[in-house]
Symmetry: C2
Subunit: 242 residues, 2 copies
DNA sequence: CGAAACGTTGATATCCTTCAACATGAGTGG
DNA sequence: CCACTCATGTTGAAGGATATCAACGTTTCG
């Protein structure tokens, strides 16, 4: 099923920069495919050579690294509108993997075509760089959590961050939103053991910070949760541009 | 003291991409200043609006975030040839600070001029994006350390990574190189306490991994140190392009 | 129904932090 | 030149946060 960029619901959602008709036509032109993949699929494998670039059209994904002995570190989560594989495409081989957290839909942007498009439309290069910078700032945030926050603060910060990102995408209703992470994902993102993650979540739940029902999360006290998280005042800009 | 891009020692060091005479002239044209700052100077302050972009011409720097209560996380170290403040320039305000670790020399690239230059020379935009991707992969590496490596592994991984980066820049002689980090810097980069950092360093030293003499470090057993670090086989590309 | 993935809980071990004290060296003013 | 301070580094002891181990519960799904 091809989805035209013209009727793209992401673009229509007014979160995104307005592009000229000409720009839109150019983007449509290089978009080669609209892919669907199931939860758990490997979108980019570590070591992949010359991977393509994707726009995450629907669903969640995450980026991770593995140590030689199997320990996993999740670097960042990706939501609709995020660009996948930009850095990987810059190098000879992907230094990390990207896995689908839920069923996902991807728009494929072949990297060679994208580079040539930049020649014609430098403004687009800026937008792509902007998305890259945004993605780095998510990693910065998470590194600060893992390095300098306690377990409870980390969990709270992760939930608050995802909540805010989902909110911008209109995926939150009455402080409730889809939350597809398992406790193992949370543990691997926050540098905690599975057991300790479980106990920390339970503690925050008991404190009345949030509730979880089959795959969705409700924040019952966003303000306090944010304070527990030692959340920054400044925030990563939330408006993707492409 | 103005340094011409034509006689730039960085560019001459053959680590960098060859640029056409035309490109070089353009870069020279937008370079507004050659700055010197002492160790400890704040190159970019958290919250700075519309900061400029810099090329680190000489010296070391580091990028960091602070939690509201003062805890500090160092995100990455920067060596000559690295671009400073690229992400900050993309947003309205810097989400992190950059501090000079040693005395530094900076080439100032006013961001507006840089953006307009991209219109004329899209290849340059790619190079800048490449540097941005490279910088992100350093953060990825460090996040993996902090999240999933033990204290000894973290320290070893940091030293090995800096050693390799310095080596590419020809700053290593007989496995010895300038190492300006204090133990506090190491602790803040690796998410460890100062005391534990000290004891971990002492342990690795006792194991014969390295020696330190007034500001420089000698790796006495690089191979083993790399194994202790659980270092990745794949590595971040080491060749800056601008 | 059975298996596999995911979640929960208690007990124990350990890594790392915190606290406290002291050592060393560089810089500064008296 | 000495006393002083400040930044940095070192070391031991004690406590706490988090990991590991083990067992069991719950849900999902073929």
């Amino acid at each position: 099923m091809q989805v035209s960029c013209h009727e793209c619901k992401l673009r229509a959602s007014n979160l995104f920069k307005r592009v000229t008709a000409e720009e839109l036509a150019s983007i449509q032109q290089i978009k080669s495919e609209h892919l669907k993949m199931p939860a758990g699929a490997e979108i980019i494998r570590i070591g992949d050579e010359a991977p393509e670039i994707y726009t995450l059209y629907a669903g969640w994904a995450f980026r991770y690294k593995m140590l030689p002995d199997g320990r996993r570190q999740i670097l960042a989560f990706m939501l609709p509108g995020d660009l996948l594989g930009l850095q990987a495409a810059m190098f000879d081989a992907a230094l990390f993997g990207i896995e689908a957290l839920t069923d996902v839909q991807l728009c494929v942007l072949p990297r060679k075509k994208l580079w040539t498009l930049f020649d014609k439309m430098p403004g687009l290069a800026f937008d792509v760089a902007w998305l890259g910078a945004r993605s780095e700032s998510f990693v910065d945030e998470n590194l600060t959590s893992v390095g300098r926050r306690t377990a409870a603060e980390r969990v709270a910060a992760l939930i608050v961050t995802l909540y805010k990102r989902a909110k911008v995408l209109d995926m939150v209703e009455n402080d409730m939103f889809a939350f597809p992470l398992t406790q193992q994902h949370i543990a691997d993102a926050l540098g905690l053991s599975l057991v300790h993650t479980n106990k920390t979540l339970a503690r925050l739940k008991r404190m009345g910070m949030f509730k979880q029902h089959n795959g969705s999360m409700t924040l019952t006290n966003p303000r306090v949760l944010e304070r527990v998280a030692q959340h920054f005042d400044d925030e990563v800009p939330m408006r993707p541009l492409i």
